[in-house]
């Protein structure tokens, strides 16, 4: 099986306390999984380890069959990993929406013309073209999340790590996010507490326990909708 992420026996401590140990995980290409667990169990920490934002204490991590031991190993892989922060404000580096969305592309050496074209396309795809010239700090929570997502998607990463993507989103915005993620044909790891949302998006749900990751549910790849849109445009969940 071809894997995007392979984790073997990862253990992590925080302030001297062991958060979890013997974490094993394989995420296949284009597989979408969710990691759930109680507050403070180390879900975000695990996501940060996969993204190369934290050093490995124990165990091994492979991304696209390349062993990742040190933070420096991630430099060559950076363009393949997209990370959506829990708080979108932490993600913004430029004040104008289109500049921020294009940032990673331009930093990777893409020409301005190509970056402008791709930015326009991604904003169009996400239905936020009208925000292109707006100042990121003046947007609503949902709009900020979509702009942050555009900044992640524009580099066409092969692996997307989403930390609480529904935080602060209303139901209609959650529906939109589900639709967007359903169209994405990439490996996705979601950390979330939002049951309906993850059931609408992922193939497998893992629970993070102090003794490792346990696959608690395998869902049909053809997801049943957990959100319903009324004819008047309003939404509800069940």
């Amino acid at each position: 099986m071809s894997c995007s992420v392979t984790i073997k026996n990862i253990s992590t401590t925080r302030e001297g306390v062991r958060l979890y140990e013997h974490v094993m995980l394989d995420v296949s290409h284009k597989e979408k999984i969710a990691i759930i667990g109680p507050n403070g169990c180390g879900k975000t920490t695990l996501l940060e380890i996969i993204a190369g934002l934290r050093s490995l204490e124990e165990g091994t991590l492979e991304l696209f069959h390349q062993p990742m031991q040190h933070v420096d190993d991630f430099k060559a892989m950076r363009h393949l990993i997209g990370y959506l922060f829990q708080d979108s404000d932490n993600q913004f580096l430029a004040p104008i929406v289109e500049d921020d969305v294009a940032f990673s592309l331009l930093a990777g050496g893409t020409s301005k013309e190509e970056a402008r074209l791709k930015t326009a396309m991604i904003l169009e795809d996400l239905g936020i073209s009208h925000l292109a010239k707006k100042i990121v700090y003046h947007l609503s929570g949902g709009e900020k999340k979509l702009v942050a997502l555009a900044g992640v998607l524009i580099t066409e990463p092969k692996l997307m790590l989403l930390d609480e993507p529904t935080n602060g989103l209303d139901v209609s915005m959650q529906v939109r996010l589900v639709e967007i993620l359903a169209k994405i044909d990439k490996s996705i790891i979601i950390v979330s507490h939002h049951q309906e949302f993850i059931e609408s998006v992922v193939d497998k749900i893992y629970t993070l326990t102090p003794h490792g990751l346990v696959c608690t549910r395998t869902l049909n790849t053809h997801h049943e909708p957990h959100y319903h849109t009324h004819s008047d445009g309003t939404c509800h969940t069940h």
Binding site: L53, F85, A107, R116, I135
Partner: protein, 225 residues
């Protein structure tokens, strides 16, 4: 730096160059002349809509200048105290009027255009961004205190709350800077900032300001101080 405005009649490159020249020359003067006010008058006219805000900021900054001038006044060095006070205010007002509508992003791009070393640009960008985030945390904390019914008095609760407030601000600032560092790494920041727009071209107002500033610094007429 006000986040609501990103376009200004004065290009950030012009602002950086002229701020450096004007402040260096004025800081070294032992005598001040009337023409040295001309660039301030022109800038004052350009940013007349925000002049009250700029003056408020200048008054706040004068609290720091007051410490220096007061120490000189206590030594009965009145002339030097006055010279330092006026010089500092000229420089501060010039810089405030130049940069009041520019964000850290446009200034960092201007620094790159002026071929300032990448490391210096990165340090500036990281620092300015952190200050902006800390400022936001400060406003959030202030709102929290108001919402939770805190009103400052001269009692131990107030002192404890304020001490906690400062401590939490430090912790939040540290957290924010860690997140910022993570975002910079994830988004492949390598010492440069980028923009899709070329809004920083030098225009007519820039040329006029260059002319007035150079003329004002060379024209030694109308003794002011």
């Amino acid at each position: 730096m006000d986040k609501t405005k990103t376009h200004s009649p004065i290009a950030p490159t012009t602002a950086l160059v002229l701020a450096l020249i004007y402040s260096t020359v004025i800081a070294m003067q032992t005598h001040l002349y009337l023409p040295m006010l001309f660039p301030l008058l022109f800038l004052g006219w350009l940013c007349r809509a925000h002049f009250v805000l700029i003056l408020k900021r200048l008054i706040v900054l004068n609290a720091l200048i007051a410490i220096v001038t007061l120490s000189l006044l206590l030594q009965k060095n009145y002339e030097l105290a006055l010279l330092i006070g006026v010089r500092s205010n000229l420089i501060l007002l010039f810089i405030l009027m130049l940069f009041h509508d520019k964000d850290e992003f446009s200034i960092a791009i201007a620094m790159q255009k002026l071929h300032v070393p990448h490391k210096l640009t990165s340090i500036f960008f990281f620092t300015a961004k952190s200050i902006f985030l800390i400022k936001r945390e400060f406003s959030l904390f202030k709102n929290t205190l108001h919402v939770r019914g805190f009103s400052p008095k001269t009692n131990s609760l107030t002192y404890k709350t304020m001490a906690g407030f400062v401590g939490l601000l430090f912790i939040k600032a540290l957290q924010r800077s860690i997140f910022l560092q993570k975002a910079l790494r994830l988004r492949r920041f390598c010492g440069e900032v980028y923009t899709l727009n070329s809004t920083h071209t030098v225009g007519t107002y820039d040329s006029i300001l260059y002319g007035i500033t150079f003329l004002s610094l060379l024209w030694r007429q109308g003794f002011l101080l």
